[in-house]
């Protein structure tokens, strides 16, 4: 299942680089695309603004099929306070921009499954696929607007996984 999670994250990261190359984050001294996996970073009390954070939640397994199918729920959390040059008055626009980027990142709704724990990464036999996102209402905390989208990510368990 880790391969599916990695493949989903890397697919979104690659697509974000194309959709908005300016959305980046400086993390552990490195400038990276503005998307990260919560469980793969150091615990923090507050994630950075204007960045997508992937949080893995539920897990379901269908073992009645010829090949076991795993369904993993991913919550994509993002928030914005707008930009300094506009005094934060553009925070609504900033969040809308992130909404549009998120929807664009999720299409098409599949990506090849790749084993990123090997060097170099090895293409596997199946594809990871997912449903349309369920997007929550905006949460307002003073000048911070946040939102999340939940996506059910499906994959087949291949031999050796």
């Amino acid at each position: 299942m880790q391969n599916a999670k990695d493949s989903f994250y890397m697919a979104l990261r690659g697509r974000l680089t194309t959709i908005n190359p300016d959305r980046t984050v400086l993390l552990r001294g490195t400038v990276r695309p503005g998307i990260l996996v919560e469980e793969a970073e150091a615990p923090v009390s507050q994630f950075p603004n204007d960045v997508y954070v992937l949080r893995w939640l539920g897990l379901g397994v269908d073992m009645n099929l010829d090949t076991t199918m795993a369904a993993e729920e991913c919550e994509i959390v993002y928030q914005s306070c707008g930009t300094q040059s506009f005094g934060g008055l553009d925070r609504g626009r900033s969040l809308s921009e992130m909404d549009e980027e998120l929807v664009a990142m999720l299409a098409p709704f599949y990506t090849p499954k790749i084993n990123y724990s090997s060097t170099p990464p090895a293409a596997m036999l199946t594809q990871v696929f997912w449903d349309e996102p369920t997007i929550t209402p905006v949460n307002v905390q003073r000048d911070r607007l946040s939102r999340s989208a939940k996506v059910m990510v499906y994959s087949y368990q291949e031999q050796g996984e």
Partner: protein
């Protein structure tokens, strides 16, 4: 060594896509789809002459063929089965309103509302039309060359219909797709342009002619074809003409596998009807989407492979690396 195959479970698909292609009504020749040769086509760019109608909803297909046992002996017991009737039905909802989806979802002619002549008497399917203009030599499927006076009669954002004058023909009329069957001679010189599928949107107008936003389905204007502005479409409940098209429906699975349903001959089976789907399920009296309902009767073709009469071909292209 790791296996380079996997055991494929049932296909998982999100949506189904629909494509239609014309049937040559006069020659009774459908458009055939070859899954072996064309099955890997880009879903956004189908092979000619298939036309993508985008995603469709509520697709269902039903075999109406009936078999019965041939009984022999005492007591009678089945010796074998015989197919008594052959048939199939397809129903779906189109998610957009276009010339083609409207035509497919109506059981009769589908007509263009031609821009009317000044002061023409009202008519339910469009009053007498303004005079047609002739494209100049050198026109193409996307660029119609006109004299400056003729070009001035069109505006960007308007629609145009292009086909030949009606001069007393009978039988199937319209290019490239038969839009109607004329049983007895008519008097309307614009009749073929009223029923033609050769329509497009004008994106630009210049002193030398029109640039179209999409190519004319009939390609380069034929000799003698004329152009008229159209304002919309109209169809009628009743009449004796049935639309007939070749249909292709594609389900793409999560692993890249594809299921094709190819109906060489589909005739529209019922009159025009719509479904209202509320945008907000919690507010059923609010804004609603208006979907066109399509119901089709599949007609048989004779497969030249073995002479069998069939109404549908179902093909399956498995996912790469999947066990078969």
């Amino acid at each position: 060594m790791a296996n380079n195959w996997f055991s494929a479970p049932a296909p998982v698909a999100r949506r189904i896509r629909g494509y239609f292609a014309p049937v040559n009504r006069a020659a009774q020749t459908p458009t055939l789809f070859d899954p072996a040769e064309q099955g890997g086509f880009n879903l956004d760019a189908p092979p000619a002459p298939w036309i993508s109608l985008g995603w469709i909803e509520d697709f269902s297909r039903k075999a109406t063929s009936k078999s019965s046992p041939l009984l022999t002996g005492i007591p009678a017991a089945p010796l074998e089965q015989v197919r008594e009737t052959l048939g199939a039905q397809v129903s779906l909802q189109f998610l957009s309103w276009t010339k083609l989806t409207m035509a497919l979802a109506t059981g009769s002619q589908h007509m263009n509302l031609l821009a009317t002549a000044s002061g023409a008497a009202p008519s339910a399917d469009g009053a007498q039309a303004a005079t047609a203009v002739s494209p100049q030599t050198g026109s193409t499927a996307t660029s119609i060359l006109l004299t400056s006076a003729d070009a001035a009669r069109f505006t960007p954002g308007s629609m145009v219909a292009l086909d030949v004058d009606y001069t007393g023909q009978t039988g199937f009329v319209g290019t490239p797709v038969a839009g109607a069957f004329v049983r007895q001679a008519l008097t309307d010189v614009d009749y073929i342009r009223r029923v033609t599928f050769n329509v497009a949107l004008v994106s630009q107008v210049s002193q030398t002619g029109l640039t179209l936003a999409e190519p004319l389905p009939g390609g380069t204007p034929a000799l003698g074809a004329k152009l008229q502005a159209a304002t919309g479409f109209v169809d009628r409940e009743g009449g004796s003409f049935y639309q007939e098209w070749s249909g292709l429906f594609v389900l793409q699975g999560s692993q890249g596998e594809r299921i094709f349903y190819h109906y060489p001959r589909l005739q529209t089976a019922i009159g025009a009807e719509e479904s209202l789907i509320p945008l907000d399920a919690k507010n059923k009296s609010g804004q609603s989407k208006v979907f066109l309902n399509g119901h089709f009767l599949a007609l048989p073709v004779t497969d030249p492979l073995d002479g069998e009469r069939v109404v549908c071909y179902r093909s399956f292209l498995p996912a790469t690396n999947a066990l078969v």
